[in-house]
Subunit: 225 residues, 2 copies
DNA sequence: AGACTAGCGGAACAGAACCTTCCGTTCAAG
DNA sequence: CTTGAACGGAAGGTTCTGTTCCGCTAGTCT
């Protein structure tokens, strides 16, 4: 965003390249395993851990940066989808599909709880979910979306689809689209709809995931091989 | 299963009670967090770690026991559902719903990779998935289930729904039923069906999850509070 | 050319988490 | 009262990981 990688040479060019490489590596690694050690990021980026600590004060700051970046990507998708699709249903489907494709949800909610969120991030999160709610509302008032789904159901849908993780990134993406397609069939207004039990999660319940949990321990997620 | 808790008194009764308490605690704890330390199990059971090591040689053995128990529960559901519901769709819906309610999927697949599976477990797993395939086939040939879903889609569905984890156990269960209801609407044959992209996961892909991954590190899963 | 320095790699350090062992204690049974 | 099965939980030893530190490299500047 702010570092111009264009007109630089020599050492400065390497530094700029590393800036990018580290961010990309961190994204890849932490999406694969939110509890990965920082050395794994360095290895994936092909740099030493020192290079990492030169740019970020510590792990938390890296995580925060990554998460904020994720929120911005999310908002970019939420803003552009309705702009590119005049049909409300298409906009909704595109929005959901692209969020899943870019795996932005793993970057935000899945990483939250690993660090203390900044007020700025709360602001971004609120704005983002408001945008998402708008997209859903448009599809609903247009009569394309079944009326008993709520805006708060959306994060849950992301949670579910994002849980799919099999094989390499490409295969995972393909499988996710498969099950998203299935889900979308259930969400369309012309589907015979069974009344949904229970209420969607409240804002409170959804917000809990952003609260910093002292000690976010645990295992799971099989780092292949 | 084998320990009679009935006619015992004193120390032996306490031991028998602890057998149960430990198993229950382990189930609860490891479902909540598959990477939980063994001391967490002891604490939840209200016993010391010593009591735990008296019955199991180590963590792995406890995990294996738990997982095998889960597989048997799974099979019990898969066998009883068709027996209780003559309508193939009802049997299918009951099967899926009950597996999710008992959270048996977290006990099997989510714990696999944490230990080296026994041949016996492979046998059970194969038998279980074969039973599930039968239930699905019946619903499909009866024309109740959309024809483009495969038996291999079932574990994926479990994965997705099981990813929902919000609030206490009760609320989580309620939310899971909500999204299962939604999904079932997509699976019914009379739903206008969009062709599903990509192929369902292969047996190979699904099997990977049972392979013991040296070092199943990582974090994630927020232990509430 | 030669000195300077931003930036780098990775060993070393320090601390935390965890599995497992060990031992003193408890209490029902004989 | 003696005995020993079963228990609780501190201590041991290991592994893993965040962070620091320092010697080295290669552009850059005079």
């Amino acid at each position: 965003m702010e570092t111009k990688t264009s007109g630089l040479r020599g050492r400065q060019a390497e530094a700029a390249r590393n800036d990018q490489a580290i961010l990309d590596a961190a994204r890849a690694v932490f999406i694969r395993d939110p509890g990965a050690p920082i050395s794994a990021v360095a290895e994936e980026a092909g740099v030493g851990v020192g290079a990492l600590y030169r740019r970020y004060a510590g792990k938390e700051e890296l995580l925060r940066t990554l998460c904020e970046d994720g929120l911005r990507r999310f908002m970019a998708i939420a803003e552009s989808a309705p702009a590119r699709h005049s049909d409300p249903w298409d906009a909704f489907a595109a929005f959901v599909g692209e969020v899943i494709d870019s795996d932005v949800h793993s970057l935000t909610v899945h990483l939250a709880g690993t660090f203390t969120p900044t007020p700025e991030m709360h602001r971004l999160a609120a704005e983002a979910s408001s945008l998402a709610a708008q997209i859903l509302d448009h599809a609903k008032t247009a009569g394309a979306l079944r009326p008993d789904v709520d805006a708060r159901d959306i994060p849950m849908i992301f949670d579910q689809i994002t849980a799919i993780r099999l094989g390499d990134a490409g295969r995972t993406a393909a499988l996710r689209q498969r099950y998203l397609t299935l889900l979308l069939d259930a969400l369309r207004a012309d589907t015979p709809a069974t009344p949904l039990p229970a209420s969607p999660p409240s804002d409170e319940e959804l917000g809990v995931r952003w609260r910093h949990t002292e000690s976010s321990r645990s295992s799971q997620h099989r780092p292949r091989r």
